[in-house]
Amino acid sequence: MRLNCIINGAAVSVDIDADARLIDVLRDALALTGTKEGCAEGECGACTVLIDGLAVNSCLVLAAQVEGRSLLTIEGLASGDGANALQRNFIERGAIQCGFCTPGMLMSATALLMRVQQPSREEIRRALAGNLCRCTGYEPIIEAVAAAADEMAGPA
């Protein structure tokens, strides 16, 4: 079957199997390999993408379910002049070690910041509760999200 949707702002049309998972279509058919597969069962969050602005596990969604919807993947985050504020703060604050969880963390954080401009530490923790990191101990990640939020809210 044919899937039509918007990915990172561009219209995409691709042939898919009716039972294909979204993550497989992104990674294999569309070569958007920034989205990672960790557990394949909705626990680790490495596969997080945004569908119409909401964070979801792309390993738990059928590609067919995103027909006509708008997707944002990690490839759509950086702006023309490089890393965005969130990405830059992750790099600067040691929120990345092996980097495997990073795309998912950034997507969950992006979904949060689209909804809440100045989230509390607790709101950040809750938004990232479905993203596991085995390297950083989470604190630098939470700091990076808070710093990016401050920066984005502050005077330009």
């Binding site: 998972r21 394949a40 969050g45 909401l54 964070a55 949060l112 509760a129």
Partner: protein, 279 residues
């Protein structure tokens, strides 16, 4: 809806219905099963709603837990369900998982089910002729062959009575990793207080993750009736919950942990009921 009835008409026992997809995707992957027909209803916007009508609250089967958690009407009328929704999986799972799917799969740890049992919810189930019939959730759960809607059927909505003055509900859960791990133990309590709001006139309590399917327990509920909202009742309530767990899971390895956990759970429920404002 007409399209849904048509699709249901083609369903066989090997077909699967996709609501949010979170459970079905995992089951298909784990079993390697390839259904002859996948009926994806996740795009049916008309099954996403929360509204009050004729003294009852109705929730569309495809309403996500994120929506349920955020809904103002449900905070007032179904505190236990709002709380249960807030405890489902992670933000990502709450955005996809639907209440209808949670009920249809009815795994032992499905968070919504104890809350819906405590609210005495019923289900609207559509068949392949397009006709919707209503069934009490507790009966559907007790059906032989499991709680799922039958072949060629789909849950379209859930409903329960609007909260009246002096009624309250609460949900509590104890898990190993509370925000993500599937529930290890959860329960929902619904009480009707007497006119003076000093004692309990009626109660329903439902437990999840104790047995293969969540259930209402009449004995624990009866033990609350006629009792004052005081420390003595709180103690009796915790004892009754602990006794129930001892009985229900005598053989399981998780018993020592659950016996300990149930007291914390009973405490949480009790404090929420005693502390929450009446509406």
């Amino acid at each position: 809806m007409a399209a849904l009835a048509t699709a249901l008409g083609r369903a066989t026992p090997a077909s699967r219905l996709i609501a949010g997809g979170t459970d079905v995707m995992l089951q298909l992957r784990a079993s390697g099963e390839r259904p002859d027909l996948l009926i994806d209803i996740s795009g049916m916007g008309e099954l996403v709603f929360v509204r009050e009508q004729g003294g009852r609250i109705h929730i569309g089967a495809l309403t996500s837990f994120a929506r349920i958690e955020a809904d103002g009407l449900l905070r007032i009328h179904a505190n236990c369900l709002s709380q249960a929704a807030a405890h489902v999986g992670s933000a990502q799972v709450r955005n996809i998982a639907t209440i209808g799917g949670n009920v249809a799969n009815a795994s032992a740890c499905a968070d919504a089910i104890p809350a819906l049992l405590a609210l005495d919810a019923d289900l609207g189930i559509v068949d392949r002729t397009g006709q919707v019939r209503r069934y009490p959730l507790r009966e559907v759960l007790a059906r032989a062959g499991g709680p799922r809607p039958g072949v060629g059927e789909a849950i379209v909505d859930l409903s329960f009575a609007s909260l009246r003055d002096h009624q309250r509900s609460a949900f509590a859960k104890v898990g190993v990793r509370s925000s993500v791990a599937v529930a290890r133990l959860n329960a929902a309590l619904f009480v009707t207080l007497d006119a003076a709001r000093a004692s309990i006139a009626g109660a329903r309590i439902a437990f999840g993750s104790v047995a293969p399917v969540a259930f209402l327990d009449e004995r624990v509920a009866a033990g609350l009736c006629g009792r004052a909202l005081d420390e003595d009742t709180a103690q009796r309530f915790a004892d009754a919950c602990a006794a129930l767990v001892t009985e229900a899971i005598a053989q399981r390895a998780s018993r020592p942990y659950k016996q300990w956990a149930i007291r914390g759970l009973a405490d949480d429920l009790w404090n929420a009921i005693r502390g929450s404002p009446t509406h």
